[in-house]
């Protein structure tokens, strides 16, 4: 085991040591690859990067009816508003807290479910379960939060089951306690997305060479060992890549769930950055503040992304960049 790890790292390092310098000769040699990719690069620059001139809006008091030259410049006024608001830190904390919970729960449940689904031998049952499991993905949050709210009500199913099991004596008003809120959001996310999230992992699992499983059988490996030594390593690259990308999205806890399930009693725990920016930005016609919020999120996201990528590199794992 230990030897294999060392072999891995050494091989990886060897790969990394090979540098591919950019020379005219190289360009000529790889021109097909260049034709296949550089036009697409130009495309994405046009559609994603060119509009970024709009970030200047964050430094103005933007009024949509005035031309660019007529806007008033206010420097960092909107950023100051954002950062000095009493609620800002709280809102940041909520966003990160819910994101991390969603991230961890999301990964664990999706991979776990994918592994279990992989063990199903009967094709029709497997396909049925898989199809049904991602049905909630198609329901909008408006409907899902309606169901969640009904389930968590005093006469809802959650309280009924808990009382029947004898775990509580009186119904709990779940949505009135801030401390439960993050859990409720996490559970709702899992319910809605676990089936959908397994799709990628199942696709990755299907690319694992079956002869590896055969070899494991020959060596007498049991189910769990096969999972541990064949399946999971087989999809490890996928997992790591998705993990790195998700870390970059840590500020995207979203707003629909929190907005729909939140209320005055839990607002200190439910308000996220997106809700805050929406309330004081777009909802007030303050496009500048909305843009400032967006810039802030981007800066943090890219920092997190690069950080996660670097950690993966240090650990000798598959990297994104």
């Amino acid at each position: 085991m230990v030897e294999t790890k060392k072999i891995n790292r050494a091989a990886a390092k060897r790969k990394q040591e090979i540098k591919y310098p950019i020379t005219w000769a190289a360009i000529k040699r790889q021109r097909q690859l260049i034709y296949m990719s550089v036009p697409l690069l130009a495309y994405i620059i046009l559609f994603a990067y060119v509009p970024v001139w709009g970030w200047t809006m964050a430094f103005q008091d933007f009024k949509p009816n005035l031309a660019f030259a007529q806007q008033t410049w206010v420097g960092f006024k909107h950023f100051v508003f954002l950062f000095t608001d009493d609620n800002f830190l709280r809102v940041l904390r909520n966003t990160l807290g819910m994101s991390i919970i969603n991230l961890v729960l999301g990964f664990v449940t999706a991979i776990g479910l994918a592994l279990l689904l992989n063990e199903i031998k009967n094709m029709y049952w497997k396909r049925t379960v898989q199809t049904v499991s991602y049905l909630p993905h198609f329901l909008s949050w408006i409907i899902v939060t309606g169901i969640v709210a009904t389930s968590l009500a005093s006469d809802g199913i959650v309280n009924d089951v808990l009382m029947w099991l004898g775990l509580i004596n009186e119904p709990i008003v779940w949505l009135s306690e801030g401390k439960y809120f993050w859990g409720v959001v996490g559970a709702s996310h899992v319910w809605k997305e676990v089936g959908w999230n397994t799709i990628i992992y199942l696709a990755a699992m299907s690319s694992i060479d079956p002869s590896l499983y055969e070899a494991a059988d020959i060596d007498g490996a049991n189910r769990y060992q096969k999972m541990r030594f064949v399946t999971i390593p087989g999809i490890k690259a996928t997992i790591i890549i998705l993990l790195i990308m998700s870390v970059g999205h840590l500020l995207e806890a979203g707003f629909e769930v929190q907005y729909l399930l939140g209320n005055g009693l839990v607002v200190d725990w439910s308000e996220t950055i997106d809700i805050f920016v929406l309330k004081y930005g777009i909802a007030q016609g303050n496009y500048s503040l909305a843009t400032a919020g967006g810039i802030f999120k981007t800066v943090v996201s890219i920092t997190l992304l690069l950080g996660a990528n670097w950690i993966a590199k240090r650990m000798g794992e598959e990297r994104l960049l």
Partner: protein, 320 residues
């Protein structure tokens, strides 16, 4: 390639030999029972909200308000679906959605995979730079208004092509495909090169067909994304009814009460009469009907795509 070899030896080196054959006989039964039970619970828990939505969509709005509907409609009606289909705009919008979904899926699959292939070649000199440029796009958004101006300048406003052209490549999908291509043995590519094949030919004839599982996945993602999108119709084509998409039409039905808050007159009862009251809120039952109409087409199509990656694949004809 060498990674696969090492994991094979890892398996052999560390697998303990099963001692009693008795355990081997009971364990699958136990496990499968547990697994099946678990899956049944999963199915119930995930199917129920959907069934409930179907039930609500067939229940009279007046009655649905009371709540307490579970698995059977209390007051059966087709009225909700009538409300969805009544102005007739749904039918044309449906075809527009189909057209954009099919086009977007085909274009995306081809372009994204081609790009993913080039970025999977470790020797590609621009690999790092291009990957970075693409990956960063997932983390920023230039904003509504600049985006709008771009579409305007490109003459994509009020045109069908605004649904397809700006979203032909997604960085996320590209990364997923690139990762998958990474699991295809280099030896296949090398032997093709030795045979004199150019990069594009390698991509088209060898890699692309081998990517079926991930292509099916990405096709699903793109199709669902394209099918569900309404925001672009909202911003860019809303003044041309004939370009409306299915989701946008349905969205119009859903948002009756969402915008009242931007109009204080409404929130203070200005101009509300007994007749107009009913148009102030979208009943739950109509929301349910809208959901069903929106998701049924995709749900019907997807199971047919599933067979492409549920079955294991023979990665290559080259034996190690």
């Amino acid at each position: 390639m060498s990674a696969k070899k090492t994991s094979l030896s890892a398996v052999s080196a560390s697998a303990t030999v099963q001692n009693k054959s008795g355990i081997n006989r009971i364990e699958p039964i136990l496990f499968n029972t547990f697994n099946t039970l678990f899956m049944v619970i999963l199915v119930v828990v995930t199917l129920y909200p959907f069934l409930n939505t179907i039930v609500v969509s067939f229940n009279a709005g007046n009655d649905t308000i009371r709540g307490g509907l579970y698995l059977w409609p209390r007051e059966w009606t087709l009225q909700n679906y009538r409300a969805v289909f009544v102005s007739g705009t749904i039918y044309d919008a449906f075809w527009v959605s189909v057209a954009r979904t099919v086009l977007a899926t085909l274009l995306n699959l081809f372009l994204t995979t081609m790009l993913a292939y080039t970025l999977s070649r470790r020797e590609y000199i621009f690999r790092k730079q291009i990957t970075l440029v693409f990956v960063l796009t997932m983390y920023f958004n230039a904003g509504l208004i600049p985006g709008y101006f771009l579409m305007k300048d490109l003459h994509l406003l009020n045109s069908f092509w605004v649904y397809v052209i700006p979203s032909m490549i997604s960085a996320f999908n590209m990364i997923v495909i690139r990762t998958y291509i990474g699991t295809i043995p280099e030896s296949l590519v090398e032997s093709a090169r030795i045979d004199g094949a150019g990069e594009f030919k390698i991509f088209w004839s060898i890699i692309f067909p081998l990517c079926k599982p991930v292509l099916a996945t990405i096709a699903l993602f793109v199709a669902v994304g394209s099918w569900n999108s309404w925001f672009d119709a909202f911003l860019y084509t809303s003044s041309r009814q004939e370009l409306s998409t299915l989701q946008y039409e349905l969205m119009k039905l859903l948002s009756s009460s969402m915008n009242a808050n931007s109009n204080p007159a409404v929130a203070n009862g200005g101009g509300v009469t007994q007749d107009t009251v009913s148009s102030m809120v979208t009943p739950i039952s109509i929301r349910a009907a809208v959901t069903i109409v929106a998701s049924v087409p995709i749900l019907v199509v997807y199971p047919f795509m599933q067979k492409y990656f549920v079955v294991g694949l023979n990665v290559g004809s080259v034996k190690e």
